[in-house]
């Protein structure tokens, strides 16, 4: 199994656009995942009876094969990018929700009481005290969700999307390893780079943690 290097050289434009499309799908999913899981996590954190239910649902959704989710969405959103993003978003929820709830749980009760004693309103406490303190755990979830989404985008190739995943079906149909190898390598590179950028982002967002370590 050899790599046809000239094929790669001839297809840089296509590879670039597939990579961009791949990344866009994965990042949109993480973005919507965060948007949905933040309020849900606050609910799960505050209202104990709902916690098991919310985490349970996200766990159950996680056990459904991604390809099935994409297909089942076809009557709703068709062969579009929307289908891909909704499907991936559902997968990010399990990690994001669990980590955000754990992050909020990890904020010491005393800190919250202190904020309350100083007359800070609950919403303000949430935004200025609880979220920042929970950030490291939340960010750990965001990192896992991002890497996972980047690896999962290619499944959407079965519904005509899938970014770099298109290289897999193409190589498969034509018994042509080069596009497949390139696709796998680029997917891993994307994941590694995205993960590194998130680590850097976390470093910037949590200046108070730097001096301690």
């Amino acid at each position: 199994m050899s790599v046809d290097w000239s094929w790669i050289g001839d297809h840089t434009d296509e590879l670039t656009s597939l990579t961009v499309s791949h990344l866009q799908a994965a990042l949109s999913a993480v973005f919507f995942g965060v948007l949905i899981s933040l309020p849900l996590a606050v609910i799960a954190h505050r209202i104990r009876p709902l916690r098991g239910l919310l985490l349970g649902i996200s766990n159950v959704l996680f056990t459904i094969p991604s390809i099935a989710i994409f297909v089942l969405l076809l009557p709703v959103s068709g062969l579009t990018r929307t289908t891909t993003v909704i499907g991936l978003t559902i997968y990010t929820l399990v990690v994001l929700l669990r980590n955000t709830v754990e992050g909020l749980d990890s904020v010491p009760a005393k800190t919250k009481e202190a904020a309350k004693a100083m007359g800070t309103r609950p919403l303000r406490t949430l935004l200025t005290v609880e979220f920042p303190l929970a950030l490291p755990v939340i960010m750990a979830g965001v990192r896992i969700a991002t890497v996972m989404s980047i690896s999962l985008v290619s499944v959407a190739t079965y519904i005509g999307d899938g970014g770099l995943g298109q290289l897999f079906t193409d190589g498969f149909q034509r018994n042509f390893p080069t596009p497949v190898i390139v696709g796998v390598v680029l997917t891993i590179l994307l994941a590694v780079v995205a993960d590194a950028l998130l680590v850097a982002l976390q470093y910037v967002l949590t200046p108070w943690r730097r001096r301690r370590t």
Binding site: I36, I57, T80, T82, R174
Partner: protein
């Protein structure tokens, strides 16, 4: 609150922002398009969809080449899936134009249709098409489904035609793409028309590596391939004859949404249809499958060489 409503809620929550973010990429649903096909316009650009096998992609890019030459803005969405997936996408507006095959399309739209001759089939298709879609004149090139066995299998069981399969009922394995299990030109029709019953149906792919590999290895005895596949000849495989005409004429025919069907599109595709022959299409498939050329490159090249594009 049961799980279904919860699921529904989650789906809705996730779909609203995602939909608005992608709104620009979705063509509007044109429910009012007239069945006669008047009033369509390709001005806003045409999105060509293709099914999940090589030839359909070659055809999609050929359509793209001639439409571009005619000044139409085109987008090609390759490898979307089976007819069962692609046609609903055409109706819902995700795509506008598809390279199709007369007989297979007619079977899909109306499994009871009996038309077998090109002209009759064209009429039957027009009647069977759902509102909002139309077919354009069919082209010269043909690609039929074929049921193929290896030379050894043919000898062993004395097979020359589909009718011979009946004698081996319950003994042979049929390999084909999953959708063929439920299609008339497939397990259903073989049973109805020839009384053939297989020991097993193996879900593989559309004239791809799985079905051809399985035939070579002997994992399946009968394989569903396409007549424009050079591998049939290269491997000395035997195409079973079809005395009862189960497999209809399969001229290539453009299927287009009314909303995009204007004279520019019609003329450009008609010219291509008149020029492209079965032999040429077979060669284009070979270039993609065997020489690993891009379908787009192969199509553009063909269009230039035959004066269809500059």
């Amino acid at each position: 609150m049961n799980r279904r409503t919860l699921l529904g809620g989650l789906f809705a929550a996730a779909s609203v922002p995602a939909l608005s973010a992608c709104a620009s990429g979705v063509t509007s649903l044109d429910g009012s398009g007239s069945a006669s096909g008047g009033g369509g316009s390709s001005k806003g650009g045409v999105t060509i969809g293709t099914a999940n096998f090589t030839e359909n992609q070659v055809l999609g890019y050929l359509y793209a080449a001639v439409l571009k030459q005619a000044g139409v803005k085109v987008t090609v969405r390759p490898n979307l899936g089976t007819r069962e997936i692609v046609i609903p996408a055409l109706r819902s507006g995700d795509i506008d134009l598809l390279p199709e095959y007369q007989g297979a399309l007619l079977n899909y739209l109306d499994p009871k249709a009996t038309a077998a001759e090109e002209g009759a089939m064209q009429n039957a298709l027009t009647l069977a098409l759902p509102k909002g879609l139309q077919i354009l004149p069919y082209g010269a090139a043909e690609d039929s489904d074929a049921f193929v066995v290896t030379r050894e299998t043919a000898k062993k069981y004395g097979l020359t035609s589909l009718a011979d399969l009946k004698k081996q009922n319950g003994r042979l394995v049929l390999g084909a793409a999953p959708e063929v299990k439920k299609r008339r030109v497939g397990a259903v029709g073989l049973k109805d028309v020839y009384g053939v019953e297989f020991k097993e149906f193996k879900s593989l792919d559309s004239d791809g590596p799985l079905v051809k590999g399985a035939l070579k290895k002997g994992d399946v005895d009968v394989a569903n391939l396409f007549t424009t596949d050079t591998d049939i000849e290269a491997n000395d495989w035997v195409v079973l004859a079809d005395p009862a005409n189960l497999i209809p004429s399969q001229h290539i025919v453009p299927l287009v949404a009314d909303r995009k069907a204007d004279d520019t599109v019609r003329k450009a595709l008609a010219r291509l249809g008149n020029v492209l022959t079965t032999a040429q299409l077979t060669e284009l498939n070979r270039l993609v499958d065997k020489d690993k050329k891009d379908p787009e490159e192969v199509a553009d090249d063909y269009a230039k060489r035959h004066g269809l594009a500059k």
